[in-house]
């Protein structure tokens, strides 16, 4: 059993045959109508073989998914579940329910919890909570530095031995260049993935939205995209010098993406993600919704030029993944003056729909590329190639069924998340998650909600 499999102690689910769907699995080179058979929480057979085997098995549950797309369960590298410490905003239970509703079956839980996830004890606490109340798989990330203070390395070796793959001080970057250099060198011994939140806090200090025409008009302090790009540049130099791999979280600006593109061309071991809001929105949203704190996140929404650069980078491979940076906040944090409000917006329940609506439908990327960005590539970065991010025989039976033609209107009141902070409220999106399966068990069905 995978260490992150939910539902321990539950009886094994019956074999399941899903028929009629278009299976889109770029990691396996598959795109076409195909039956899929699940046994023992894994993909047991595909195509005619699946139907034949199902005919031999007793008690097979059959699910007709005609007209739907079947995707490997989405893997989200960047989720703030807020537990332990801020359970009023989200819990592991509520956050994983939100993930399931969004077709996401594996989430990487950010370590800026209270206290910070910087020790095996807290990692184990998160895992225990996930086994107890979670409905999708949770991989706790750990802090790079003790208590995320940016002063001393966390016990990366110990944490890696306990199965932690992702290390990040997200919320902050590792500001001290020497410490970052050592983290890269030291972490490389254990093959961990160092994830940087790129923000030069001297440049962004006091900034609450992108520096540009809109911030000048609204009289809000600007957060210049140079704060992101200069950080990316420093880390690329350090990655080259150490030979270690580095992954950039939530890139949002044209200049950063140009740097990453050039570094990849040079052969550096660098990967990067963006979040749906950076390809779906620009600072123009704040011009239309002045001082609406649902449009406040870190890094801030950029210019239209930045947005188009994000779309281009998703197309050309400069960006490897789409991750949500799901950041729940309650009214006390958001129903205040703009410059007083917390940074961050929800993402789990709109990520796939935004990708389909904004990128796939207008033909900016293919459905297969969307699956790479949302599932295959993030799984590979977590060292789960062949296990997640694909529905090849032997892989974990984590998947979602999607109606690519169904239009729906985002209504935060119907979210599984405990929070409501989204700039997409009221927006109609085409493409909807109909069902989500984790470890061979249905966890979500549109119209019925979470299937406990």
């Amino acid at each position: 059993m995978n260490p992150d499999a939910p539902f321990p102690g539950r009886a094994e689910a019956a074999p399941l045959l899903i028929t009629g769907a278009r299976l889109i699995d770029p990691a396996a080179g598959v795109d076409g109508a195909m039956a899929l058979l699940v046994e023992g929480g894994r993909v047991a057979a595909l195509g005619p073989g699946a139907e034949r085997r199902a005919a031999e098995l007793p008690g097979v549950e059959r699910h007709d998914a005609a007209g739907l797309w079947m995707l490997p369960g989405l893997v989200d590298l960047h989720v703030h579940l807020r537990e332990p410490g801020q359970e009023g905003k989200e819990t592991i239970a509520s956050g994983t329910r939100a993930a399931a509703a969004g077709g996401i079956t594996t989430v990487v839980a950010m370590p800026n919890t209270l206290p910070a996830t910087d020790s095996v004890a807290i990692v184990e606490l998160v895992r225990a909570k996930a086994r107890e109340g979670g409905v999708v798989r949770v991989l706790p990330a750990a802090a790079v530095t003790k208590a995320r203070q940016g002063a001393e390395l966390a016990e990366i070796g110990e944490l890696a031995r306990a199965g932690v793959v992702v290390f990040t001080d997200d919320g902050d970057g590792v500001a001290n260049a020497e410490l970052m250099r050592r983290a890269l060198e030291y972490g490389a011994m254990f093959g961990v993935l160092l994830v940087e939140h790129c923000e030069d806090k001297a440049l962004s200090a006091g900034g609450v939205m992108n520096e540009g025409t809109v911030s000048l008009r609204l009289g809000l302090r600007g957060w210049p995209k140079a704060a992101e790009a200069s950080y990316v540049a420093r880390d690329l130099v350090l990655a080259e010098a150490t030979g270690a791999r580095v992954h950039f979280a939530h890139l949002s600006g044209r200049a950063s993406l140009d740097l990453v593109r050039a570094a990849k061309a040079k052969g550096l071991r660098v990967t990067a993600e963006t979040a749906p809001h950076y390809f779906a929105l620009s600072e123009a949203w704040l011009a239309e919704h002045p001082y609406d704190t649902a449009g406040k996140m870190n890094p801030p929404l950029g210019s239209e030029e930045d947005r188009l650069a994000v779309v281009q980078a998703l197309r050309d491979g400069t960006l490897d993944c789409i991750a949500t940076d799901h950041a729940p906040h309650g009214g006390l944090d958001k129903n205040v003056e703009f410059d007083q409000a917390a940074f961050g917006i929800l993402g789990l329940e709109t990520s796939l729909a935004l990708t389909l609506d904004v990128l796939v439908r207008p033909g900016r990327i293919t459905p297969a590329r969307a699956v790479e960005l949302l599932s295959a590539k993030p799984a590979e970065l977590l060292g789960l190639k062949g296990v997640r991010g694909t529905l090849a025989v032997g892989a974990d039976a984590d998947l979602c069924l999607v109606d690519p033609e169904e239009a729906w209107t985002v209504d935060p009141e119907r979210f599984q998340s405990l929070s409501r902070n989204t700039p997409f409220a009221g927006r109609t999106l085409t493409g909807r998650v109909k069902r989500t399966l984790v470890a061979g068990r249905w966890v979500y069905a549109d119209g019925r909600g979470i299937l406990d």
């Binding site: 025409t213 009289g219 002045p290 703009f338 410059d339």
Partner: protein, 317 residues
């Protein structure tokens, strides 16, 4: 709701030229009231006006207080150090406690851009923005327009220079919107750190070619009908925005010698309080071209007009 047909005065960006004209005409009428021995009219009798200031400003608070008093309103001044309210109570909580007092008009000054609009969305009372962070200070903008109109008989066609820390100035933003709507042209002037070229783009869409950004004071003054000098805040030094007050005044202090480069009779304004010798010389501030003293008296008339048009009954002064 008063004759203006809107609940709040949040900014000049959202007003039409006609609405601005209506306020200035009304201010003209109230200016006469200020010259009478009995300076009171019953326009706001029985209404409660609260002056809620989260930033110290004797000048603006007093001006609003006098304006409300002359309209016979019940006026309450509340000055809050940001610290006392920050203890868990939000701005909305604070405002909610006043709503219970049958609040007519809330005059609000805070350090946070957008706060007046934010409160206006959640409150039944009329909100008058008395300065929200770096965003706008609409009654100051109206007062400057009033001063210009009294001096020149019109605002249309005037060339107006605004000099100093435009980036952080709510006064400058209100001035520019008002000036453009009434048909003036604007030169913004200051060092690139306090007056970036990018500022011009804010108004380029609605008023193409009407705002220029220049970094030399001499260029800003050349052919100017009026100049608004902004206060320099010394905290800006901590964010590396200019090297020293000495160097600032060497480049940007409005002196008599520099003023000679403007049109003869160029009107000098300053929203106050002044740093004499830093952004404006004493000679210019007290000189014959200065409108600074008159601006204070006009301020009461303009604020009476705003309060009356927002919340007054139909029969006028």
């Amino acid at each position: 709701m008063g004759t203006l047909g809107r609940k709040d005065l949040l900014d000049l960006e959202g007003l039409t030229a006609e609405e601005i004209g209506m306020i200035l005409d009304e201010a003209e009428a109230f200016r006469e009231v200020g010259l009478r021995p009995v300076k009171k009219v019953p326009a706001l009798r029985g209404r409660t006006v609260i002056n809620l200031f989260f930033e110290p400003s004797t000048r603006t608070a007093t001006s609003f207080h006098l304006a409300a008093q002359r309209l016979s309103a019940d006026v309450l001044d509340i000055k809050v150090g940001d610290s006392s309210v920050k203890k868990g109570e939000t701005l909305l909580d604070t405002v909610a406690t006043f709503e219970a007092m049958d609040l007519g008009v809330l005059i609000l000054r805070t350090a946070h851009s957008g706060s007046a609009a934010f409160v206006a969305r959640h409150s039944r009372a009329s909100i008058v923005n008395a300065g929200d962070g770096m965003h706008e200070h609409p009654t100051q903008g109206l007062l400057d327009l009033f001063t210009l109109r009294r001096r020149f008989g019109r605002v249309e066609g005037l060339e107006v220079a605004i000099v100093g820390d435009v980036l952080h100035s709510r006064v400058a933003r209100s001035d520019v919107w008002g000036l453009l709507k009434l048909g003036a042209r604007v030169r913004l002037c200051g060092p690139a750190t306090l007056c970036p070229q990018a500022l011009a783009a804010v108004w380029e869409g609605a008023f193409p070619g009407r705002v220029r950004v220049v970094h030399e004071l001499e260029a800003a003054l050349e052919g100017a009908d009026a100049v608004q000098v902004l206060r320099i805040q010394l905290e800006r030094l901590q964010r590396f925005l200019f090297p020293s007050t000495r160097e600032y005044s060497r480049h940007y202090c409005l002196t008599s010698a520099r003023l000679r480069g403007a049109k003869p009779g160029c009107l000098v304004m300053h929203p106050g309080p002044m740093n004499r010798g830093l952004e404006i010389s004493g000679g210019v501030a007290d000189g014959p071209q200065s409108a600074i003293r008159g601006q204070v008296a006009n301020g009461v008339a303009v604020r009476m007009a705003v309060l009356h048009l927002l919340a007054g009954s139909e029969e006028a002064a």
